[in-house]
């Protein structure tokens, strides 16, 4: 085992430990701000796995899109709706968690068994490595052209849809901002939750 092999192995082990513990922490932690930052860490570790798999372009796209856009969006949403609310207790929450944990554990065992016992068609053709970016470009503009164009339309639709959904069509009174400085609690302000138009 030469030094490149052991370096790759150590990198894979570190990244997988980060992914597993980070995803558990994202799901289990009480404070959701910690969860959001750890989610960014999990995304970065997944990008590291892509680098180990000789896919530098997808790793860069993962960092840009997930860490740069999705995670920041999630943080913004948390900051916008972060109200400490007292969740009313549900009857049988513990049994519900146990049952769903059993179901997910069963799914995990099933997936592990399939991935270990299946005879994969290995070794495949040699990985093209650094040419991957050029090859992805060729794919996107020849045989995957229609999905590529559909993806652009989908992104446009998502952008317009997000703007329409998140737009606040409630007329804000002019003294609203000056009132905000005096009493800091936004929640106590009587903002009309539904505009008159949406009730008709």
């Amino acid at each position: 085992m030469n030094i490149a092999y052991s370096t790759e192995l150590i990198c894979f082990l570190i990244l997988s430990v980060v992914i597993v513990s980070g995803s558990l922490a994202v799901v289990l932690l009480e404070n959701i701000v910690y969860s959001a930052f750890l989610l960014g860490g999990v995304f970065m570790a997944v990008a590291g796995l892509y680098l180990l798999l000789n896919a530098s372009f997808v790793a860069a796209a993962q960092v840009l899109v997930y860490v740069g856009a999705v995670n920041v969006l999630i943080l913004f949403a948390i900051m916008l709706v972060n109200k400490k609310e007292k969740l009313n207790p549900i009857k049988g929450l513990r049994t519900r968690k146990l049952i769903s944990g059993g179901v997910c554990g069963g799914l995990l065992v099933l997936l592990l068994r399939v991935s270990v016992t299946t005879k994969w068609n290995l070794p495949g053709p040699n990985s093209i490595g650094e040419e991957a970016t050029e090859r992805i470009g060729e794919h996107l503009f020849t045989d995957y052209l229609l999905p590529f164009e559909l993806a652009s339309i989908l992104l446009l639709m998502a952008m317009i849809g997000a703007i329409v959904l998140a737009r606040r069509d409630v007329p804000v009174p002019t003294d609203y901002t000056s009132d905000l400085k005096t009493n800091k609690v936004i929640d106590d302000k009587k903002i009309p939750l539904l505009s008159e138009n949406s009730l008709k």
Binding site: S6, F12, N54, F76, S100, C104
Partner: protein, 109 residues
């Protein structure tokens, strides 16, 4: 068990990590009461699928790498989903003043 592997890391190791990530995402999706955490769990599941696609693309389809193209499309769809999902969440919060998933039962029978 892990014969035929090219590098030091077998294909199955990537699949195991992805399976664990996916199951964690499913559990979080079912059990979260905060709606933002539900969206985060969906992102975890999409990342698990992406790891699977990328590892198969690198180990089995190394010369054509269709899996990498697929994972780029998955990343695109995930970005669109996150934007629309968080917009829906904001509008829900504006109408109901809560993000507890248990209170979003307007469409229940």
């Amino acid at each position: 068990m892990f014969e035929n592997s090219i590098g030091p890391v077998p294909l199955q190791a990537y699949l195991i990590v992805a399976a664990f990530l996916f199951c964690t995402g499913v559990w979080g999706l079912i059990n979260s009461r905060n709606a933002v955490r539900v969206l985060m769990s969906i992102e975890l599941m999409l990342n698990a699928v992406n790891i699977n696609l990328m590892s198969f693309s690198s180990y089995i389809d190394g010369s054509i790498i269709r899996g990498q193209v697929f994972s780029i499309f998955v990343i695109t769809v995930a970005a669109a989903e996150a934007a629309v999902g968080l917009a829906i969440l904001l509008s829900l919060y504006r109408n109901r003043v809560t993000i507890d998933m248990e209170s979003f039962n307007l469409l229940k029978w």
